[in-house]
Symmetry: D2
């Protein structure tokens, strides 16, 4: 239907749940071609051998940095859905990309449009409320806590609070059982729940005198992420450098 060559895509973590779904979605898109599916124990170089222009990484926090380094060395664009990206990791990716002015990496903690809006709204509301807490809830097979989406949300909120000149949220806690008040992500408390039956959920709670505002996102099905994954694949080849969050691609 078009003279344009499809974008050649490889998937890492292709036998995992998100990787399986992503492979299927790429395979079903007219303008994309699935050229490699790689998982633990497979030969990573087969991605380069197959001529992949973009790699989609849904592996795990322990493997993703090595994958990224290798892809950037091979001049392959990367869309990363794997979680666990701290500020340090993002700085590392930026450093790796510096000598490669044409190469793009998109790191998105969450590909669901609802999650992207949740983060946008959280950043917007942050300046108006003296208190804020983040609660993320996931299935018990998840390896990292907090989730990448929760970390990213907390970082956005912390930045907005700093810009608005807000002081630390009030908290008179004197006697705390270890861990009760959650983890501290740049001054924002983040709590991670794990339970069977859950899929992927997050709540951001803002509080001021006499009122609270809550923004909640529920993902019930991995399918909800696929429109975002395909969008990122199409955009990463046009956007050199590091892009964090799907929001930047929507604006």
């Amino acid at each position: 239907m078009s003279d344009v060559e499809p974008i050649r895509v490889g998937v890492l973590g292709a036998r995992g749940r998100m990787g399986t779904e992503a492979s299927r979605a790429v395979d079903g898109a007219d303008d994309l071609e699935l050229v490699a599916m790689v998982d633990e124990g497979d030969w990573l170089h087969s991605v380069a051998d197959a001529g992949a222009q973009v790699v989609v990484d849904f592996t795990n926090p322990g493997a993703v940095m090595e994958n990224l380094r290798w892809c950037i060395d091979q001049d392959i664009h990367v869309v990363v859905g794997t979680s666990g990206f701290t500020t340090e990791r993002l700085d590392q990716v930026r450093a790796w990309l510096e000598p490669k002015p044409d190469l793009g990496v998109v790191v998105a903690p969450n590909f669901a449009i609802g999650a992207v809006l949740m983060m946008e709204f959280a950043a917007r509301a942050a300046r108006y409320f003296e208190s804020v807490e983040v609660v993320e809830m996931h299935h018990p097979q998840k390896l990292d806590a907090p989730s990448g989406t929760a970390l990213r949300t907390a970082q956005l909120i912390a930045a907005a609070r700093a810009e608005a000149g807000l002081a630390k949220a009030p908290d008179a806690t004197e006697e705390e059982m270890l861990g009760a008040r959650g983890s501290d992500v740049e001054g924002v408390r983040v709590h991670s729940l794990r339970a069977s039956g859950l899929v992927a959920h997050q709540e951001v709670l803002f509080g001021a005198a006499g009122e609270t505002l809550t923004i909640r996102h529920d993902s019930f099905d991995r399918k909800s992420f696929m429109p975002g994954v395909l969008l990122a694949v199409r955009e990463v080849v046009k956007r050199p450098g590091l892009t964090v969050g799907l929001g930047a691609l929507l604006a």
Copy 2:
């Protein structure tokens, strides 16, 4: 402390719960002067006699239109917190204001900053989700259902959906017990809960394939409204015509 004359304010519905709180807040503000407190059975003209420049109306849906007409006739600006404003009522107020180019009316269904952000976010998210429902929850002494905030939220959502070209939300209901699917506000379903223990709460639920996004506001205390009421009093004297929603005053 200042050469500026304080703004002279009268409160209608001054013995009701919101009116009492508003009278106290006006009285406590250096740049405002509380000149009249009127309630059912009182002499409305005492407001004009006292030289009020702004009237704050926290009466009820049955009385508010008559009050508005009288204030506009008397060239008194009005801040309205009373609920029950349909599109027809707003059009009526605009018509009354037409011959008075210097007079301002602010109709705000909700003066809490969290509620204002909830409405802003709801309008922003509306275009991305095929489904949406509004649920408002209040104490059982409330006279009208849905609440003014819920009506306003639904109108904003309906306008955003229309602009984005969204079709009617999917709904296969064939057998409905009367009222089960809530009220229909310009195509958006709104549900009103009433229960002891509740104060004022609202939830907007957006849905798309595999995901939902929920925005919720909880007011636990009337005090949370007062910063917004005072802001409206200060702004209404500078803004001729009809302003709907506190959001316009914040932008």
Copy 3:
């Protein structure tokens, strides 16, 4: 593995979502034998021809009563998961069963253990709170509103309130947009939300002076119903008469 003959089971509505899952679950159980799968347009008598001892009905409110009458006529036990059972329908089933002292029918609005506990807790809490409202939320393909689970929950609550001598819940609503306050199920207000992304969810909200108690059940996957369906099939052959709700089988 056992000398006991497996129970012979037919499924009505076998090509629907719940029917498909139920057929698979029956087929996978050692002590049950799937002997017939029937859907719209199929020959209902094939169920009797196949010698089914128990029929599982996941059809629709428009078809279920005729199916029930036919099964009872044929001396086949029935497990009904189809919704839409009013007090009148239940009385009708009881009347049909009267001349058949050995035949059992289980009508369960919900087969998930969480839903059964939600109903038990709602009935227990009902006597302590002057206010109560039920909100059920489902995918937009659902045909009836309120859901069978919500109807059953409201009936249980109404019965508990009556027994405790509670008056009508306080509600000062004077101006109501049609449907805003939901449907009235024996004095209990029930609200039905429909949105893409949702599966099957219900919340019961109790209120008293200064406090609320909320009981919520979320079904994310039809698989959560299957342990309950198989339990009902095994129990219905031993329980003559009408049994309403899975709770009775758990106690």
Copy 4:
């Protein structure tokens, strides 16, 4: 109106928020007499001098054990609403009471009927779900985390799981930021949120394959606790030994 002498009651922590409300409630009850109000810096012995038969303690986790020891020494019954009671503290109170066969102590982490039902329901549901997490949310002036109610709830759940022979809840977390997974109360994860606008709230989340069950209690007003406080004062004089939780007094 009655020949019965009123019960003589002293309140410790009488100038705190709960103590103030409790003093008012005792003072307003016909069958109780408020004989002493003591707070930090006051002379504790004035309670004994005033002939108090029951002391109500709403002080703080740092002071309550010393108060309890003193009251027991003085043969004064105690109703404790102060939080921070671990299993060790309860054992200590039991030891102190051993030589006093007529003396009663009621330790209740929460006096709201809704909270008591929440705990009862949580204990009942615990055996049916492989996963459970507790989230408590309070105003930021609270000194301890988790709350006494959350600790008590987690202990009840842990006991019910042990009795049902449930294994540890599934949790594959490998990389955890310190505190993300909350505090560990006898194997149950408890998360404590603190935010302005909040009063006192708790959610218990149960999960199994494909479903979750959530029980939530919201206290919006200290008044909701007073019926429970008065009940405990009337009952403690008739119940020697240690009673934990208001539930025991309701059954």
